[in-house]
Symmetry: C2
Subunit: 663 residues, 2 copies
């Protein structure tokens, strides 16, 4: 082993560092990166540490100071400004001047003779003068002369200079970093546009937007829905696959194996003689119609999210053109998808490990690029966990190289490690278990895990109370109040959320008995919704989404904090901006059947409020205002009206002492 | 990015992996290494995984099976047999046969037609036959023929074969691992001899072992102590530095700055005109005397541990011979050690960063080698945290390359991260904060941290209730009972422990007021102890150490488990061997002033005991025996007799049904 005598400072435990640097941390432009590291040296030397960071393509490092927190843990921060990868590492060094200053102070405090120490300090100053600019060197010399001329035992004239801000900051400007330790990895931040962190999704089957019974919808008829979707405040409209639907083995209503003539089939059974993944179902329109629709949506501030489902119906053109991309049964027939004992006869999976896998992978990439060229930038990826991780990592890297604004939502309702891996390897957002978390301890535990666990650095949650595949039991049994509570929870716990509508706003709750499947699921039939049912939730959805748009505290997920309530059925939490200019408190009655009340407890100091003073909380849902005082305040939530408060905390209330004529 | 289509299985979260593999995990020969990893694949395939491991120098890997625990976490175990480095990694693969078996079972359970599945299976068998030995291929073919000839819908004849142990284990013997994922790091285990994990230390100043007042001890007089040290059950005798003590700036009694003529000085102020780190203080004897002493100790099963204090007195020969290894003050005088405002005028530190650092480091290494050649293998290293980490890492690696049986105990009572770094870089054992942990929550919390935290893999604790520098307040105020309780805690919580004697067994508790320093500390004066004071603790120390020797459960630290007692002043814990052949329960009264009693609660199932049956607990300290029954049992501990029980759990008690003539 070769001995090394410099680099006395140790840097370890750097965070974020995902899987030893194998994967980047994630941020959107405008977000900060807080870097932590354990930094220490032998002996008693004082240490200085900086984050070194740069944008992709930059040669030189920028620097951000780190400060010691506790137990040798240091922290620093830098801000992401551009839509490009960032790199960072940590550098630290033992600082002789800082050490000397600290020791001198201790000796002075103990009344010791410091004449020799001043001489040592002058040596350090002389070195620094050698490194300094002409101007700074001149100033340092002036300071040094005062110190040199002080011959007193306790440095009476020198000491005020030595501890002055002017002198200290000059000395700090020219540290000797020749023995500095640089952390041995350069770590990456993958950067997305802000929508990756703050997005409001609406999922809708375009074929159900027809003009009446027996008249399926098309992109043209869908256009008429856009104003209402925009009024409700959604900014991403996600469409299930819009490609030609397979005819062979098409599923009928309620997933029956034999379809009737009029059954439209599941849109996830992609491909027929009318085309495959690069085609549009002719009943929906042409590619031009789709582009017109996207353009119209854009006028309403709505982006279209496309479904990526890499699988085929048995009538997909690929089956004939590229039989080598599929698995065959020993009898030569096509091997349908299955998850024993379940069978998906209307779907044939790709064989990602076929001998021609390279051609297959390239073709799949070309599908994504095809739609990107048509203007799509958001993709909701169907069951990514049933295709190789390596494939996704390669595909997303390839796409984002040229299209850094592309967003991929992973629809993987699977085991935790698998979901995390997909997020790490590049998916921009992830579906979550929120769909099944109803109780207070489940929600607080899960949100703590999402926002304080390692995944906070790379897994951006997107909360969905329902999907075409999942009508949770809470919604099946809880009635309108359950739909309201789950919407408000999704919209305020997570800055990314979505609903599958119009099932959601119409509070559709009929399930197949004992299952979480919608009865008469829209997956297998064209619906003709009563869009104007007076019981619909559209107004309150619009209000919740407006509250999200108008309150920056709700535009990130990472700032969630739960607070105590003396009632297990009320969930109470806050979100606030760092500068406290926007503080939101949310209380939700988790019991859809009964009125619940309780005393909530606020950490006033964290909100910049005084214990003794009154303050105003403004319920942005009801527009009611309440005067609160102190830490504990009473709330009551009636599920048959609105099962939640979304309070904005206003400044403290004015008192007599504020009145113009008081003094 | 280049696409990769094999290696579908992901291996991450491998543990132990210290700092990303930068440092090895540690074991002694005979210990097991439990390797964990998160292993999963896309899709629903069944996975197989193995640990690959080998000894240094071996080319091929050995294999140990891993099994799935929960949540995609897998675990496997291998055993260290030789005193050499081991390497390990993990390999895993999707297993088509296992997957096929699993899916077939599900389909059979659902009553589906499996004819096609049997054909698929036959394809897998044919592949395996191609890989198998002639003998196994023949057997597999016989099985395959039965399966082939079965034309029934539900494989009536095939199924019993397919799920038979014979067939399954044959198929498992030839997995297709061509697409296997190998974890991308080879991780190391640093291996020590068993004494690194189980050692019983006694620290003693040889100069205080004289034959009477005014007659300082020497190695010759020390020999007479060996039988008593051996009777007390210690197997490591650690001597403070035995080199010539500095005369310049020698410290007097109680650390006074000016020594009297008869004051012997602190042995850590090493070096005088009589020699330095490679010499023996002439008043103790010659190198030959030292070797004789070591040899004599060996006869009693006692190893001598030498103190390594890399610092000099101002009269050390190095000061003149190698002034370049030391720092000078601006006035040209030698710079003494200090930790402002404290000054250590009798000590001059080495300058590890001097221009001649390489020569210095080599010289320091030569000191260790000098004593190794004289027969020393255990070193207690003084204040390693005030010398560069790089130096220690280099030194210990260099020494252990040729002397893998060398043991280095780090005397670093400093911040947690620093102590952990020293352990990681190579120190065999570490002093701990045990010295200051007295309360139940402190002891349980600290032991949980030591044995369940990451340090469990690399930091071997050595518990010391006192040292020449530390007489903790608990011992100052708690009397004889406190000494007994702390000894028993150290000896049973940690498999490595030591005491500084005869201060310990004589219950010396006079401190400098308000400090943890011994009053009239042995560091600065020759003592003449009343070895035979009738109040001494020698008999009980001997008993405790005999219990340690006779009970393998106490010979490791990693098996500690705390159990409930309904009294905050009683600590109750167990240690057991894996095969349950030795189960030890320890209850300690932490209150040195009052009798304490309580109900202890035992997890009987973990001990292989039945809830309903009686069992015997034998107190190895008092030799009393108690019949216990069920989970809760009563104990009472009188600090004025012995403040602890060390129970050995015996088999369940015999009952009438066990009696010969009962049936």
């Amino acid at each position: 082993m070769n001995p090394v005598n410099n680099k006395r400072v140790i840097i370890e435990g750097v965070w974020p560092e995902i899987d030893g640097g194998r994967f980047p941390a994630k941020r959107v432009t405008g977000e900060k990166v807080t870097v932590e590291a354990d930094i220490f040296s032998d002996g008693h030397d004082e240490i200085s540490a900086v984050i070194l960071y740069k944008k992709a393509g930059e040669k030189g490092w920028r620097e951000a100071c780190m400060k010691l927190l506790v137990n040798d843990k240091w922290e620093g921060v830098f801000t992401i400004t551009d839509l490009t990868a960032y790199y960072y590492t940590v550098e630290a060094w033992a600082d002789p001047f800082k050490t000397w200053q600290k020791d001198l102070k201790k000796k002075l405090d103990a009344g010791q003779d410091v004449k020799m120490d001043l001489l040592v300090g002058i040596g350090l100053m002389e070195k620094t003068i050698g490194l300094a600019s002409v101007k700074d060197a001149k100033r340092l010399k002036e300071f040094m002369d005062i110190i040199k001329n002080d011959k007193t035992r306790s440095g009476d004239k020198a000491v005020p200079v030595i501890f002055s801000d002017d002198f200290t900051s000059l000395m700090f400007s020219y540290p000797d970093r020749s023995g500095a330790t640089r952390y041995d990895k350069e770590l990456e931040v993958a950067v997305d546009r802000p929508k990756a962190l703050f997005s409001t999704w609406y999922e809708m089957f375009p074929r159900s937007c027809g003009s009446g019974p027996g008249k399926p919808g098309s992109f043209k008829t869908c256009k008429t829905m856009l104003s209402e979707i925009a009024r409700m405040g959604f900014d991403v409209l996600y469409l299930p696959p819009i490609h030609p639907v397979g005819k062979k083995n098409r599923k009928g209503k309620n997933n029956t194996v034999i379809a009737q003539k009029e059954d439209p089939g599941s849109p996830w059974a992609i491909g027929s003689e009318e085309g495959g993944h690069k085609s549009i179902d002719p009943s929906l329109g042409t590619i031009k119609d789709f582009q017109d629709f996207m353009e119209e949506a854009g006028k309403y501030g709505i982006e279209i999210a496309m479904d990526i489902a890499f699988q085929c119906s048995p009538s997909h053109p690929y089956i004939k053109e590229h039989p080598e991309w599929f698995k065959k049964c020993p009898d030569g027939t096509m091997q349908y998808a299955e998850n024993p004992p379940k069978k998906y006869e209307d779907i044939v999976p790709f064989n990602f490990e076929s001998d021609k896998w390279k051609e297959l992978w390239e073709e799949l990439k070309s599908i994504v690029l095809f739609w990107i060229e048509k203007g799509v930038r958001i993709f909701r990826v169907d069951n990514p966990h049933t295709k190789p991780f390596n494939f996704w990592e390669w595909l997303i890297k390839e796409i984002k190289k040229d299209y850094p604004d592309a967003i991929f939502l992973a629809e993987a309702f699977t085991r935790p490690k698998v979901m995390h891996r997909l997020a790490k390897l590049g998916f921009t957002q992830s579906y979550t278990y929120f769909t099944w978390r109803n109780k207070k301890y489940e929600l607080t535990g899960y949100l703590e895990e999402l926002t304080r666990g390692e995944g906070r650095e790379y897994l951006r949650p997107n909360f969905w109370p329902n999907t075409p595949d999942i009508l949770p039991e809470y919604l099946q049994y809880g009635g309108r109040s359950a739909f309201l509570a789950r919407l408000i929870l999704a919209a305020t716990l997570s800055s990314n959320y979505g609903v599958f509508g119009p099932e959601y706003e119409l509070c559709i709750s009929n399930a197949i008995a004992g299952k979480e499947e919608y009865l008469d699921s829209e997956k297998y039939e064209v619906k003709n919704w009563d869009w104007n049912n007076p019981d619909n939730l559209r107004d309150i959805i619009a209000r919740v989404n407006r509250i999200r748009r108008e309150n920056p505290a709700l535009q990130t997920t990472w700032n969630i904090k739960f607070h105590d309530v003396d009632n297990e059925l009320i969930l109470f939490y806050s979100k606030k901006t760092e500068d406290l200019s926007n503080i939101i408190l949310v209380a939700v009655n988790l019991d859809p059947h009964h009125r619940q009340s309780g005393w909530v407890k606020l950490p006033l100091n964290e909100f910049g409020l005084d214990l003794g003073e009154s303050y105003l909380v403004h319920d942005l849902l009801s527009d009611d205002k309440y005067i609160w005082k102190g830490e504990s305040n009473y709330i009551e939530l009636n599920p048959f009206i609105v099962p939640a408060h979304i309070f904005c905390v206003k400044n403290r209330l004015r008192r007599e002492t504020d009145f113009d004529y008081y003094m």
